[in-house]
Amino acid sequence: MFKITPMTKNILKNLITKKSTRPYPFVIREPFEESRGELYNDIDNCIFCSTCARKCPSQCITVDKEKGIWTCDPFVCVFCGTCMEACPTHCLHHKRTWRPVSGQREMIEMQGTPPKSKKKAAAKKEEASG
């Protein structure tokens, strides 16, 4: 005998309600305000202190203080946001979106101006010795 199961009601309801899926990639849901996507460094404010590199649980950041280069390996980064919170100058941020798919292992590399204090110290040394 044909029997109406409790699910039948639900299925009929689904036929007349809005779809719950989106035809991605034609319709893309806006990411939430707090979503943690790709990392970027506001490099002009970076003082190359290496705090982010030390605090990062996946150890994917390298900071070259001499040359003023900040590098992050986005293939190792787990988007935890620890570095962003640890940064003393608040120059690290997460974009709300992810990086597009990439066929190559590209690093996020940023070139800034290395901190002056060292140069100053070196200059002072020179003065003292010269």
């Binding site: 699910m7 305000e33 946001g81």
Partner: protein, 358 residues
């Protein structure tokens, strides 16, 4: 009838993760099941040699994707007790809220997979549609959908604004009503009952003797829930462990269904009682000595053992997950059932294999 040995897994359509069962069958009836593990061992515990104890929070979160938050909470809770750190009350409440949200989405995930396991695809999609709301709450409040990374030593990293609290409450209202609309299907449908009632029996004595955990234990009539240990904010919230007495797959799924509603209620209670104040305190020093922590994960009791030696690296970290505890009961459930029921019974303990092997 001669005995035949049939391998079940490690790759099997109902198993998202690899576990191997060597099934001895006579005719169509299973007479013995011997489980074998070790296909996804990752050695996460050993990482504490090269990652300091703050970094390890992110590592233990990756033990299990579904209850990542609860692993991190257990880890932090244990170390905080060892180091005598007093966590601010607001942080405790926030931890409770996120961990219960994890339980809701884990149980919905399981209920869906279980339905899928016996071929009820429509119910599977319906439940996962509801689950998506909880995932959105996770993403909107913590920044990530699955591995939320909100715990730190001494508290949590994110706070909830009043607006967010209102939104969570309204979303939970929807989750609850949508789930209740499916109640008659989950609990009374002919298909569901036909495939689960009386399948994979585990008596109360067996559950106790074999050390079952979580819904597997409570489905056999033992009212034990680690949340009764009053970690985080559970001491201020009202709840009773959910118990069912039949000990079959149906009882276990009933426990999980009722627990989902219970967790929604707990989140609500916690949101209403959320105290003001700090969300974390600074933790100084390094862990020394030994300590343990136990919390209730969606699948049962989660146990952490720590040994510190005063340096920033832990000397030993040992994790015992609920699925590990539930494998001997599983081996006891299988004999006597038909071969076709094995997938459903295996799913009924909610196996999380990568969790088990860490």
């Amino acid at each position: 009838m001669a005995k035949t040995i049939i391998p079940f897994g490690p790759q099997h359509p109902v198993l998202p993760e690899p576990i191997h069962l060597s099934l001895t069958v006579e005719d169509e009836i299973v007479t013995q099941a011997v489980p074998a593990l070790g296909y996804v061992h990752r050695g996460l515990e050993k990482l504490c040699d090269i990652r300091d104890y703050h970094h390890m929070i992110q590592v233990v979160e990756r033990v299990c994707g579904i209850c990542s938050k609860i692993h991190a909470m257990c880890y932090c809770h244990g170390l905080e007790e060892m180091m005598q750190v007093e966590v601010p009350p607001r942080a405790k409440y926030l931890r409770t809220i996120w961990s219960e949200l994890h339980r809701v989405h884990s149980h919905l995930l399981w209920l869906g997979l279980f339905a899928d396991g016996f071929g009820f695809e429509a119910l599977f999609y319906q439940l996962w549609k509801i689950r998506e709301r909880v995932m959105d709450i996770n993403e909107a409040t913590t920044g990530n959908r699955v591995i939320v990374s909100v715990n730190v030593m001494g508290g949590v990293r994110k706070d909830l604004s009043l607006e967010q609290i209102r939104w969570i409450l309204s979303e939970l209202e929807l989750v609850e009503s949508e789930l209740k609309a499916l109640e008659s299907t989950i609990l009374d449908d002919y298909t569901v009952k036909e495939r689960t009632v009386g399948k994979g029996m585990l008596t109360k004595e067996q559950a106790y003797d074999l050390g079952a955990a979580g819904p597997t234990l409570r489905g056999s009539g033992i009212a034990q829930d680690c949340r009764q240990l009053n970690y985080a904010a559970f001491s201020d919230l009202e709840f009773e462990p959910v118990v069912e007495y039949d000990g079959d797959s149906y009882a276990r799924s009933k426990v999980r269904y009722r627990e989902t509603l219970q967790s929604i209620d707990l989140v609500r209670q916690a949101l209403h009682k959320l105290p003001d104040g700090e969300i974390n305190v600074k933790v100084k020093g390094n862990p020394e000595g030994e300590g343990v922590a136990r919390v209730e994960q969606p699948r049962g009791e989660l146990f952490y053992y720590f040994k510190g030696n005063g340096t920033k690296h832990l000397e030993r970290l040992r994790i015992r997950t609920p699925t590990f505890a539930n494998i001997p009961p599983l081996a006891a459930m299988l004999p006597g059932i038909e071969l076709a029921d094995v997938p459903v019974v295996v799913l009924s303990i909610d196996p999380c294999i990568s969790c088990t092997e860490r």
